[in-house]
Structure formats: structure tokens, C-alpha cells
């Protein structure tokens, strides 16, 4: 018997200083194959993972940031970004990639994946999950 569970991946680390962000992305993409109800949360330094215009040519590391724009194709359409974390770091939604997904029930209309949420809203989202993965 297969039962769909609500999976939440919580991302709290900056992208290149440690391997957490990249490893999280790998796990998320592998997990997407199991057809669960997946959500992602980006808070604390995790919000840095989504900045647009990342160019790693000068540091000799792989730029994995384009992969976030493929999440919609894996039916990962709920990406929660903690507003407080962004603001504390001097960033706004404009500094992040514009991530979208296509809704097949509405003639493949493009919809925003990122949902800017307050701490209390994020707490509610976390509370309704079945499984939490932390990176």
C-alpha cells in the first residue's frame, strides 16, 4: 500500500561554504522520484542558495544554482522562503531567482513556486508535514 506523505526539506546553510546545500539538492531530486508531496523551506543562511546571478568561474566550484529552476519539472512547486531571514541579510525577493512551475490543470499556466512567508506562517507549514529533512 502506498500512501502519499508530506515531505519537507528545510535548508539553512549558504551554498558554497559547506556541502549541505548541494547535498540537499541531490536528495530532493532523488526523493522527487518517489512521488510524495514535497515542500522546500529556505531560512537563515539557506536563503542565500536562491540568489540569482551566481557565477562560480572564479572559485573553481560547480555552480549548482541553475538546478533550482528545474524543480518545477519534478513537481516540486511549494518553495517557502522565510521573509525575516531575507530582510535580516539585506535581501529581498528581487535578489532571488524567479522560480516557476507549469500547472497542467490550467493549460500549463506558469505559476510562481516561491512563497514568501513569515515565521508564524512557516511554523504552520512545518506543523502540517509528515516527515522533515534538515540540511
Amino acid at each position: 500500500m502506498s500512501e502519499i506523505k508530506k515531505f519537507m526539506y528545510v535548508n539553512r546553510k549558504a551554498p558554497y561554504g559547506t556541502i549541505y546545500a548541494w547535498e540537499a539538492l541531490e536528495v530532493i531530486l532523488i526523493g522527487a522520484a518517489f512521488e510524495q508531496d514535497v515542500s522546500l523551506a529556505f531560512m537563515d543562511d539557506g536563503v542565500y542558495q536562491l540568489t540569482k546571478g551566481q557565477d562560480t568561474t572564479g572559485i573553481g566550484m560547480k555552480n549548482f544554482s541553475p538546478t533550482y529552476s528545474a524543480l518545477g519539472d519534478y513537481e516540486i512547486t511549494k518553495i517557502y522562503v522565510d521573509k525575516e531571514s531575507l530582510e535580516e541579510r539585506g535581501l529581498s525577493l528581487d535578489d532571488l531567482q524567479h522560480l516557476v512551475w507549469e500547472d497542467e490543470d490550467e493549460d500549463w499556466a506558469e505559476k510562481d513556486s516561491i512563497r514568501l512567508v513569515s515565521r508564524t506562517e512557516l511554523a504552520d507549514v512545518l506543523a502540517e508535514q509528515d516527515v522533515l529533512f534538515n540540511f
Binding site: 543562511d45 568561474t57 544554482s65 535578489d95
Partner: protein, 98 residues
């Protein structure tokens, strides 16, 4: 006897920046590298710790993280790897706040 202070951790995840900035004196300079570069973003909470200090940021680490130079605090200079070497050479000692 000037010292170069290297900070490579995010100011929102570690105490390195706060400790380094409180210990800097005289002609000491600070170079932000790796995740340390996030401290130089203008409207960030950490920006206050850099006030009055001589601060540089490593350009390739900024670019990797998608932080444009237009987002930096006024007065912060951006250096490349050669500039990093020049700073090490120009100071008597290097303190890495790992």
C-alpha cells in the same frame, strides 16, 4: 604593526566577524572571503559591525554567491586573488578567524 584579519564564515552563522571586528585596531585591515562576504551587504544586520573599519571583499567569492558589487556597503573595496596576496604582503601578520 598592522594585522590582516581574514573572516570566512557567514556573520549570521558564526561569531567570527563580531570577534574580529571587536579586536581590530590601528591600521589593521579585514578581508572577507568565502561565506564571510555576506557581511558586506549594505542593508544586512551584520553591516553595523564593519563601521569605521578598513574592509575588503574577495570578488570571486562575491560573484559565486550572486552578490552584486552594487549591493555592498560604501567604502568596502573589492579585490581579486592578486589583491589578496598584496594585502597579506602589506601587513605584518595574518589572523584567520576560522
Amino acid at each position: 604593526m598592522a594585522m590582516l584579519h581574514l573572516v570566512n564564515k557567514s556573520p549570521y552563522d558564526a561569531s567570527s566577524l563580531e570577534t574580529a571586528s571587536s579586536i581590530m585596531k590601528g591600521d589593521d585591515a579585514m578581508l572577507l572571503i568565502e561565506d564571510g562576504v555576506y557581511a558586506a551587504v549594505r542593508n544586512g544586520k551584520a553591516a553595523a559591525s564593519l563601521e569605521g573599519l578598513k574592509v575588503s571583499v574577495l570578488g570571486p567569492d562575491l560573484a559565486a554567491r550572486g552578490i552584486g558589487e552594487d549591493k555592498l556597503i560604501d567604502g568596502v573595496t573589492v579585490v581579486d586573488y592578486a589583491g589578496f596576496v598584496d594585502m597579506v604582503e602589506a601587513n605584518d601578520k595574518v589572523q584567520s578567524w576560522l
